[in-house]
Symmetry: C2
Subunit: 208 residues, 2 copies
Amino acid sequence: MSRPGRLTTTSYAVLGLIAIKPFSTYELTAQMDRSFYRIWPRSRSKLYEEPKKLVAHGLAVATRERVGKRPRTVYSITAAGRAALAEWLQVPGSGPALEFEQILKITFVENGTKDNALAQLAAARAWAVEQNEVNRDVGRAYARGEGLFQERAAINMIGGAFLTDFYALVARWADWATELVQDWPDSPSDAVLPPGVADEVVKRADWS
Amino acid sequence: MSRPGRLTTTSYAVLGLIAIKPFSTYELTAQMDRSFYRIWPRSRSKLYEEPKKLVAHGLAVATRERVGKRPRTVYSITAAGRAALAEWLQVPGSGPALEFEQILKITFVENGTKDNALAQLAAARAWAVEQNEVNRDVGRAYARGEGLFQERAAINMIGGAFLTDFYALVARWADWATELVQDWPDSPSDAVLPPGVADEVVKRADWS
DNA sequence: TTCTTCATGTAATTAGTTACATGATTGA
DNA sequence: TCAATCATGTAACTAATTACATGAAGAA
């Protein structure tokens, strides 16, 4: 009776995809890129494993097809799968978790130079610009009615708007920080906070 | 000569901490919470392993002390360690990675109810309020000159400001999304995008 | 003196990534 | 017909988490 591994958030993410329509594993990886990769990043190879778990739990069924002499597997959701999804949606998800290596490096920049800090900030801003351009183009296409799965537009907008604002935040923050750091002395450990800056930032936290 | 594992970003984060001053492993876990946990979250047990790797690489030295009859280990950085840190600061870090399960659930909420979506949004807002209150209190204490390691204030402000703005973003986004979702029909799969919303969001992406 | 919280770790397990391998299709 | 790219996976490895265990110190 081979214990199938426990279902993880990633399992449900895959289950959510095949709830839209059946997908082959390869198609799943493509869909991940477009649907949840930016809020739930996982490697491609995961998407070859997870569906097997779903099948073991009876939440999906696998259909073997062949393309030429090459086999491929298409996964479809079962009734039990839909029920499991609905239940999963009822349990509160966890709040956002952030990994931000560029800030981490700035946190320890006293062991390096002011230029190191400026470079990390520039990289962060460039990252935001790049992400934003992709995001904006997809959004525009969608607004023109060109996107895939248009019937999901209202739902997708919720997450899309968050990312839009997030990229803008990263860029604005990088600009703000760059101005501050430019006034630092060469050695970051000698940097002092200009008067008023701390208060101004604290004031931005005054909404809750 | 037992191959020590490769150094990861987490290794350097720990190295950055002991560069401030020597810490015992337990103190390291406490420092992590206050310094980098929110931008580089790792479990406590990691902080018992990583220093051993640093020692194996010659970047730190371990001093065995005892408290009563109980031993403890204090780690200090070496000259090679400082050099390694400085070098690490020169390589560009990766951009922010986000994991946001609440949005993930909203993405697949067509398999559930409108209330499911509203509940996820409420949870997200509550999360932001909670994080913000802690963050704001720490910031205020710092502004009054009460925080630990005040000499690092200018540096810490950079990352602190990002988090401040991030929490505000999450809350404002949740409010915005809640208003939208409240107008949905009961079944999320029937939701349609009100005219103008898509354009308005796309416009917010128009800065790069 | 007992309970709780602080302090200090190890062991077992797993989720996830990186690297590899190769068939099918298309266009130059 | 050759190269490039799309499609389809497996295997090996490891970073990270969860669960467990227990001594010290202070409070009640």
